[in-house]
């Protein structure tokens, strides 16, 4: 899977590494700002409060 993704990246190895790092950062940012907050809303509500 990752080997195939690597072959999709264009340019020399240095450029590929830079693009891979950018792509990984973008995925982490997406997880932290969109996916995880959405997942949180599906968890048990009111986990510290009563009622």
């Amino acid at each position: 899977m990752y080997e195939k993704l690597w072959t999709l990246l264009p340019g020399p190895p240095a450029l590929r590494v830079a693009l891979a790092v950018l792509a990984a950062a973008a995925v982490v940012l997406l997880l932290m700002t969109v996916v995880f907050p959405a997942v949180e809303t599906l968890l048990v509500p009111g986990d510290v409060a009563f009622g």
């Binding site: 899977m1 995880f36 009111g46 986990d47 409060a49």
Partner: protein, 273 residues
């Protein structure tokens, strides 16, 4: 090893390619990579819950603090706490400071205890008393993540001050005697200088651990739902044990005094350290 694999290659020879992985090898590799990816995402989720939400809450607290300061400009002063209109959910309502948990342990309290409210900081249970007024000023807060405002709630000793600042002044509460101290309070810890004037309240310990269904702890008189309030109490609730929502850690306090915000007057001595 055979002679063929160990001898040096001639200049015109090409190294033999390793055998191409068969279909099973490829599937195993894909499965392994997917499992590793799932593991990394789970680790990232833990990082998000425990640390990243702290940064988000710090940002929200900053905004709430500025909003609270703006709302206090020009607010009428009073010698004693007076009831105000119930604030809208999510609105910053007061500032809670717990000096014994360290310098800077000060949080803007917002109205409401929904998931979204508690992302900003501690939340005031809607319908419970306002700070300093008769009844029970009840506040919920996270213990892990989202700033973890009540992470160290279990370390609060009896008599520890809990200061709630509003537009009108500072309501200084003190943590009530713990259950194991009540019987010997008069001859034991009750004699400590910081505990002067504080007495146990029957049925309301300084700290208790209950199930999430024990909503009576935030009643006007804790653990006695329906009873008319005789004094001004504070109740702080959080999850227990850490990293679990199985139980609730509850801290109760009683109003020691109210320090009005008057020109030339200062904040309570408890905030000086």
């Amino acid at each position: 090893m055979s002679e063929q694999t160990t001898r040096d290659l001639r200049d015109d020879e090409v190294a033999p390619l390793p055998p191409a992985p068969d279909r099973t090898d490829r599937r195993l590799r894909w499965a392994g990579e997917i499992l590793v990816t799932i593991g990394v995402v789970l680790v990232l989720f833990v990082v998000y819950e425990v640390w990243v939400t702290n940064w988000m809450t710090a940002d929200r607290q900053q905004t709430a603090s500025e909003e609270l300061a703006r709302s206090w400009v020009g607010a009428p002063t009073a010698a004693a706490p007076v009831a105000t209109a119930a604030p809208e959910e999510g609105t910053p309502t007061a500032r809670l400071t717990i000096p014994s948990l360290g310098a800077g342990h000060s949080w803007v309290v917002v109205e409401g205890t929904s998931q979204d409210d508690l992302r900003t900081g501690p939340g005031h249970y809607t319908g419970s008393a306002q700070p300093g007024l008769p009844g029970n000023f009840a506040v919920a807060g996270h213990r892990v993540g989202r700033g973890a405002p009540f992470n160290d709630l279990g370390e609060l000793e009896s008599c520890a001050p809990l200061v709630v600042e509003t537009a009108q002044g500072w309501a200084v509460y003190r943590v009530l005697p713990h259950a194991d101290e009540a019987a010997t309070w008069a001859t034991g810890r009750g004699r400590a200088p910081q505990c002067r004037g504080l007495a146990p309240i029957d049925g309301v310990p300084g700290e208790e651990i209950v199930t999430p269904r024990d909503v009576g702890v935030i009643a006007a008189v804790p653990n006695r739902p329906g009873a008319a309030p005789a004094g001004s109490l504070i109740t702080l609730t959080t999850c227990h044990p850490k990293f679990s929502a199985r139980q609730r850690l509850v801290v109760h306090g009683v109003l020691d005094r109210f320090v009005p915000r008057v020109p030339g007057g200062g904040a309570p001595a408890e905030l000086a350290n």
